[in-house]
Symmetry: C2
Subunit: 228 residues, 2 copies
DNA sequence: TCGACGTAGATTGTATAAAATCCCTGGTGT
DNA sequence: ACACCAGGGATTTTATACAATCTACGTCGA
């Protein structure tokens, strides 16, 4: 675990429910809980050593984020998305994120660029295929840093959820098709364009970038699932 | 393939929590619970004659929809949106809804057009300024019927929430500025375009329509110079 | 007078236990 | 053999009770 990161809202374990939500979310995004896996309240409660009430609330929170699906009186399962639904996520991102970047780019500070550079640098160290989890975290943070000054809280919240879900579905494919290298190149170019004030070019590249990742994922899926 | 389940209208209150959520949501959208109003769990529980647990879950559900804001250990309040945030909602709608209409329009059935006609007719009967609540309900349903065949569940869910919130903030203004008449005209034209297969024209009109309502709302607020 | 501290009251968060619901299995009748 | 329905067991949902936390207010000291 990385030490002493700035206290953000997600680290405020102010309530047990939020702590449980964070841990379950991590496991889903990391793939420990796979699509369709049944999340039983009792099992999670005993494992974490807590009651089932905060577990319920955590599951509801995750349902709001789209990571799990709750069926009344039948429990919660990790959400299963068809390829069409995953494609929809990318299309929504391609629609929303350029808008956020356009509003946020000009307000990026020197500290923000510093953080973006750090992320790019951590990319290029040799952690690529080895630490897919860390890569996904960095990827999500990269996008969030870019949009943080957009002053569009609702859109930012929506995109945050989309990023998380896309990350979950992309990791498998990224480590196999060299998608990470391409993403790293495009990310670096993105930062360069923002820094030099070419906002609209950056937005266009961002749109292409997201659509490209989505298309790459779909191709990968179609190749490996011709029979179904 | 899941067996075709009877898609119930969700009017069956299958769980207490969902029933409470529905009632509290109605009160918020109707304006009985105004922005900033503090929703105390105990008060709601005793009023509905239930425990606090389902009330808590209802509040979390409403938070996910954006209608309330929950502060840890401090309770829930009806969400207060600045004019900028309301404008953001309309901008997001203007971005997302044409996309949904484009995907859904060609799959609209005769029964759908029948329902749309019913809605338009109920508009034009003299219930306009009198029953603002009913008008808002119809307005939301109108849009949802248009998009129901889009096969983009995530976008539809997002837009559903946006519609509800926009409705809440628009009602006050609609009944005073004649915005309803204009909306009715545009809605009728929208149906006509869809019916005659002019999908892209319909999408363009829809975008204009949403932006127009948003702009009208902003003008209304700037005239009255009300800051919260 | 003003501000800091601490206690009381109210409100939310969590644990435990009871009630309702669903799934599955096994029997029964046709 | 097939359809149907009753009952047991597992799981979720709700109720009740307790613990933790926050806000308000009053007291104390400079």
């Amino acid at each position: 675990m990385p030490p002493a990161r700035p206290a953000q809202k997600s680290l405020q374990h102010r309530t047990i429910a939020s702590a449980v939500a964070e841990e379950v979310r991590r496991r889903i995004v990391d793939g420990e809980f796979k699509s369709g896996f049944q999340l039983r309240q009792d099992a999670l409660a005993t494992e974490f050593g807590v009651s089932r009430i905060p577990v319920r609330e955590a599951l509801m929170q995750l349902e709001a984020e789209g990571l799990v699906k709750i069926l009344p009186h039948r429990g919660a399962i990790v959400s299963e998305l068809s390829m069409e639904e995953v494609q929809e996520l990318f299309e929504l991102r391609a629609l929303l994120e350029p808008r956020l970047l356009k509003a946020s780019a000009k307000h990026l500070t020197e500290a923000d660029y510093e953080r973006l550079s750090q992320i790019l640098q951590e990319y290029s160290t040799e952690l690529r295929a080895k630490h897919v989890r860390r890569w996904g975290e960095l990827n999500t943070e990269f996008h969030n840093v870019l949009y943080q000054h957009a002053r569009q809280p609702r859109a930012q919240a929506i995109v945050g959820g989309l990023l998380q879900e896309c990350d979950r579905h992309t990791r498998l494919q990224l480590s196999l098709t060299g998608g990470m290298e391409r993403a790293e190149v495009e990310h670096a170019e993105l930062v360069r364009l923002c820094k030099s004030g070419k906002v609209s070019a950056a937005c266009a590249l961002l749109k292409t970038h997201i659509e490209g990742v989505g298309k790459s994922l779909r191709n990968y899926f179609e190749e490996h699932n011709k029979t179904t």
